[in-house]
Subunit: 249 residues, 2 copies
DNA sequence: CGCATACTTGAGCGAAATCAAGGCCTGTGG
DNA sequence: CCACAGGCCTTGATTTCGCTCAAGTATGCG
């Protein structure tokens, strides 16, 4: 019986990181390998339809309108997904990190752009081969349906945020969600690393950079968060933060 | 060999309407049956996990926070899906009509409420039985993944609308999309029936009822649309409407 | 006919956008 | 080592788009 390490060694794909991670309840798709029971022939098949690549910070690996040839699974780093209007207005629809999928929401052409905000390592699947992958690994198709369902829930929550919440509530919602994700998927609760700029935050929350900055200051003055010198955040009163996010009580 | 009509007659489910409709490119999930090759035993199985019901206008068939027992497929009528904040603010995340699915974006509990804005006839599936349905009809699972992907695309487009578009652009986008849907899925292009109230429209577009009304008047004064005496709409200059929607050129 | 519901329009207000200035950190070159 | 440029962020002043408050119109129903 092969060790995980040996299998990883045989494949151009690094199996010690999730190729097809599972859905971790509460935090979305992250960190749970599905690949423990793969035979050698399965590995060879996967290697023929998937390739691991690196995308440097600032570079795009999918562009809205381009032919959607690939489907991605992020292994390391963070990327932003965004849609743009002709006059330059931008809406970031999500940030994706290790374990997340990119390209579920695709037609023949990408309906979004994906850009690395840190160096990203990812696994790239040929979309034309996806049917083949599904029939060989039915569990993957099932998993993807779960992932897609979860993404729909998140998307609808974001619509509520964009359509109906105030600037402070938007910021509080984002920090609340991001810190939960960090706690569930890594640990350290004291300082929360924000790999995205204030501009990214603004484009994600439907605000301007100035309003983001002011809302952060307001949360800081209320003693709910602290802003570290390197512009990261630490959550001082998680419960109060959550109450603001939910427009609570 | 059984006729479609005979099969319909044998089942409590009306098979002449789509139980599991296909994905009609461009218009989303609508009107295309998947049920032409079903054996009698399959029909009996479907009848054991699904039931056709009616929901009267104004009534909810799913409530946010309730245990998500069912999965729905709309056969007739229109419903709104919405999320609410404790203080009464409401965001409608979508309108669903014949052929659409409700409950894809569900965890153990519903993360949205669904309410009929016209009398609705729907087919109700036990979610605990869905796995069984999928293994008996793999095509359904595949179809649902396509539907979920398409809904993600639509959701991201709506995020762009809510986060970055002006009131007039929002209205133009909605009317543009709704009229395309109407043209693709039924025909008559002259008068566009809007089954939802101005309040619904406002809650869908992240605006107030007054702003919706003013934006409609503005589009009317620009000669892009006409508003009929019964508050429906007819699109006079579709191209101009589309340009406004896309903040175009 | 009277009332309720839904929609439209106007006036004034306010939250966030825009415009503008200044601070802080990093890297680069003298 | 310091000087300076360029990001990135914060804060202040002013403007604006859409919200709130208010009044009036139209339609449908008992």
């Amino acid at each position: 019986m092969l060790e995980q390490r040996d299998r990883a060694h045989r494949s151009p794909i690094n199996l010690s990181e999730a190729i097809i991670p599972g859905l971790c309840a509460g935090c979305g798709a992250r960190h749970i390998g599905l690949c423990d029971a793969l035979a050698d022939e399965d590995l060879h098949f996967l290697a023929s339809v998937a390739r691991q690549t690196t995308v440097a910070r600032g570079h795009s690996f999918a562009i809205e309108g381009d032919s959607a040839r690939y489907f991605f699974n992020i292994n390391a780093g963070t990327a932003r997904l965004h849609k743009d209007l002709p006059d330059g207005r931008r809406q970031i629809t999500g940030f994706v990190g290790p374990g997340d999928f990119v390209g579920l929401a695709a037609d023949d052409r990408y309906t979004f752009s994906a850009e690395a905000i840190e160096d990203v390592r990812l696994c790239r699947f040929d979309r034309t081969e996806l049917r083949g992958v599904f029939s060989r690994f039915p569990a993957i198709e099932r998993r993807l349906l779960d992932v897609a369902s979860h993404e729909l829930i998140v998307a609808q929550e974001q619509m509520l945020l964009l359509g109906r919440k105030s600037a402070i509530e938007r910021l509080a919602s984002f920090i609340d969600g991001w810190s939960r994700r960090a706690i569930l998927c890594g640990g350290g609760t004291d300082s929360l690393r924000l790999p995205m700029t204030r501009t990214d935050l603004a484009d994600y929350l439907g605000l301007t950079i100035e309003t983001v900055s002011r809302a952060l200051s307001a949360l800081r003055k209320q003693g709910v968060i602290e802003v570290t010198p390197d512009h990261n955040i630490s959550v001082v009163r998680p419960h109060a933060l959550h109450d603001i996010a939910r427009a609570g009580a």
